[in-house]
């Protein structure tokens, strides 16, 4: 699965930031992941130890904050909740909507031991 590739990219970034901050260890990594990010949080969590082994992040805690799915309607202007395979306006039902939250795949913050 591509979650291992994603984890390797994550660890590379985390180590870069840890080194910039002269950290001795990475304690906690917080990610923001939306349901439309294309990444399965559970698979990410199980791939993480493999990608982080032998690095400053080897024993870091990986915290995933899932993000709500919300769309903005171009027709009536409402912002409403949606689901991954039904991204219609919750008020008028139109499909001319734009995603305003829910596709995040972000490294949000780190807790470092310096």
């Amino acid at each position: 699965m591509h979650e291992l590739s994603v984890c390797q990219a994550l660890v590379t970034q985390v180590i870069e930031i840890a080194q910039e901050n002269s950290a001795r260890e990475v304690l906690m990594i917080t990610l923001h992941i939306g349901p439309l990010s294309g990444v399965e949080p559970a698979l990410l969590v199980s791939a993480f130890p493999l990608a982080a082994a032998g690095t400053l992040a080897a024993s870091a805690q990986l915290v995933i904050e899932s993000q709500p799915l919300r769309v903005h309607c171009q027709t009536c202007g409402a912002d409403t909740e949606a689901t991954a395979n039904r991204l219609l306006c919750g008020i008028c039902g139109d499909y001319h909507t734009q995603l305003i939250s829910g596709d995040e795949l972000l490294l949000a913050n780190l807790e470092l031991m310096t």
Binding site: I17, L27, V39, L106, A108
Partner: protein
């Protein structure tokens, strides 16, 4: 083994496996895309394409939905009109690249990397082996997989996702990330529709529109040459648009609701 890979950590004992926060810990706020390195490489690839005025199209689908067959038919129809080149992501065999070369079009087979998707670094590597001079359209046939390829920008300008009528008509509902990423969706192998009683094209379109996708849905058969004119028309339009952008010093990524990105809570990240 289990000490290093962590597979013995369960939700129940997880709290024991991690150290509590000690003094001397500091928090760093980052807000960076996880795949930022891939995205940087993809942007670099895009500058290579734009420098040569090339339109690059990433083809994605389940295994066997007809990506290579579509390329073969497209080559036969357009090779006198445009110069084409292909990067093949079939990681296991040289078969697809051989099928393309048999039609007189240069093809490079990516043979390294993880087997479920292409990434921007693999594509950059491939560019060293392909002669891109004079090329008008570069196709990248991604690995047959409806999940992983959608997460990795390769530097392409447009994504095309194929859905064959031998798959379920609810595929867009099951794989929303992939179908949302498409700039055009091709309904392939429609010559088989008369013998299939459980695929309803209207239902496939309904599932696609439920994803707030307004992109064209092109029903076609590469084998029986049905509906191909609309696909060629789309390609010509996209190539003209790419050339106009290059004139203006502009570029474009697969569209994925640019307005949505602007409205996004993390805009600019």
């Amino acid at each position: 083994m289990c000490d290093s890979c962590g597979c013995n950590v369960t939700p129940g004992n997880k709290h024991l496996a991690y150290k509590p926060v000690k003094n001397g810990a500091s928090a760093v706020s980052v807000l960076k895309k996880l795949l930022a390195h891939n995205d940087d490489q993809a942007a670099h690839n895009r500058t290579h394409f734009d420098a040569r005025s090339i339109l690059t199209i990433n083809l994605m689908s389940s295994p066997g939905s007809g990506k290579t067959a579509l390329l073969e038919a497209t080559i036969d129809a357009l090779k006198d009109e445009f110069r084409l080149a292909v990067i093949e992501g079939d990681l296991e065999t040289e078969n697809d690249a051989a099928r393309i070369r048999a039609r007189g079009v240069p093809a490079y087979q990516i043979t390294t990397g993880s087997a479920c998707h292409l990434d921007a670094h693999m594509v950059h590597e491939a560019l060293h082996y392909l002669d891109l001079s004079g090329v008008d359209i570069l196709f990248i046939e991604n690995v047959g997989n409806l999940v992983c390829p959608a997460s990795f920008d390769l530097g392409q300008h447009r994504n095309v996702t194929l859905l064959s009528v031998t798959e379920g008509d609810d595929k867009p509902a099951k794989y929303p990330v992939m179908f949302r990423a498409a700039d055009a969706v091709i309904l392939s192998k429609v010559d088989l529709l008369p013998v299939l009683d459980d695929f309803d094209p209207a239902r496939a379109e309904h599932c696609l529109r439920q994803l707030a996708s307004t992109v064209p849905l092109l029903p076609l058969s590469a084998r029986k040459e049905q509906g191909m004119a609309a696909w060629y028309h789309w390609l010509r339009q996209e190539l003209a648009a790419q050339r106009a952008r290059v004139q203006d010093g502009a570029t474009v990524k697969p569209h994925l609701q640019p307005e949505g990105v602007r409205l996004h809570a993390h805009a600019g990240v």
